[in-house]
Symmetry: C2
Subunit: 182 residues, 2 copies
């Protein structure tokens, strides 16, 4: 197999992998192995950020009591109670314009790293304030979201496809200037 052929194969495997990521909100109770946790954090650590500021740190949460409290702190965050592990992304809180973008990048990668290990994950979004207190995060640091991780509960409905479909490409792609789509 030529090098080019290998690359093609990898490309389709990886792009399929990327396309197939979905939010998972139902988990089996099995713990997330620590080597998987470490792998997710390593992928997070190497994420690119504006000017390489790396405006983040990560709180790994396995305490069921904390997970329970997190599940009640936001809207649509109930699923966190059943996640065996969650990771909160702590932002430096100095530049929302770039930090919120970088937050999206790093959470997307953690979810992909989890998927590579057969785990599911889902993002939970919080208003600023109460969650800082719960996790002992001092200002100006800010927590806006948490990712819950666990092995997907394949038996229950709503494991995948929670978010439904996507708009067709023709509706969202323009050529050269805005307005060629729609």
């Amino acid at each position: 197999m030529s090098d080019t052929t290998t690359k093609q194969a990898d490309a389709s495997t990886i792009t399929r992998f990327l396309r197939d990521l979905r939010q998972v909100r139902r988990f089996r109770p099995d713990a997330v192995p620590t080597e998987v946790e470490r792998d997710i954090l390593e992928v997070a650590r190497w994420t690119g950020s504006a000017k390489n500021v790396q405006p983040w740190s990560f709180i790994v949460i396995r305490n069921p009591e904390t997970l329970q409290k997190l599940s009640k702190l936001g809207n649509y965050t109930a699923f966190v109670a059943a996640a065996p592990m969650a990771i909160a992304v702590v932002l430096d809180g100095t530049n929302p314009r770039t930090e919120w973008f970088d937050e999206g990048r790093v959470e997307e990668r953690m979810m992909l790293a989890a998927k590579a290990h057969g785990l599911g994950s889902g993002t939970a979004r919080y208003a600023e304030g109460a969650i800082n207190e719960l996790l002992g995060v001092p200002a100006p640091h800010v927590v806006r979201s948490v990712v819950g991780f666990g092995y997907p509960d394949e038996g229950s409905s709503g494991v995948r496809g929670v978010q439904g479909g996507r708009k067709p490409l023709d509706d969202i792609v323009h050529q050269e200037r805005f307005g060629s789509a729609q």
Copy 2:
């Protein structure tokens, strides 16, 4: 090979792939094949977003004149002039709190999809305003960033590792509550 063994192999291949993504800012002049462009856009299309709003559309730019203008419109955006293709992410402009996060998710994935095909890519950031005008984007839609794509110019320096290293895990990971790191 058992299914578990296969999964393990995939996991390490994919997490290495994720860890290795770097900004690329020097490109060969070769065009990006249209099937690769389509694959990148498909991966973008399937990206998750808050409440599945999909608050985006994408402008594919190959016109050298437009790329030239884009290169002069921001700070650190000069590299866009040498990219054979760029994709601008147009946000709906109604909810920065979630849209800037979703913007990070979708650009991270486009960069990963490009890497799967052997392409390099780099993000270019813009102040709002002039870029909207250049690309014909009407308010309230907003463009804050563009991703430049192309085959990496391996011959020149600065192709990889532009952003330097990363903080060690011990400095950025806390257990259960903030403060166990640092």
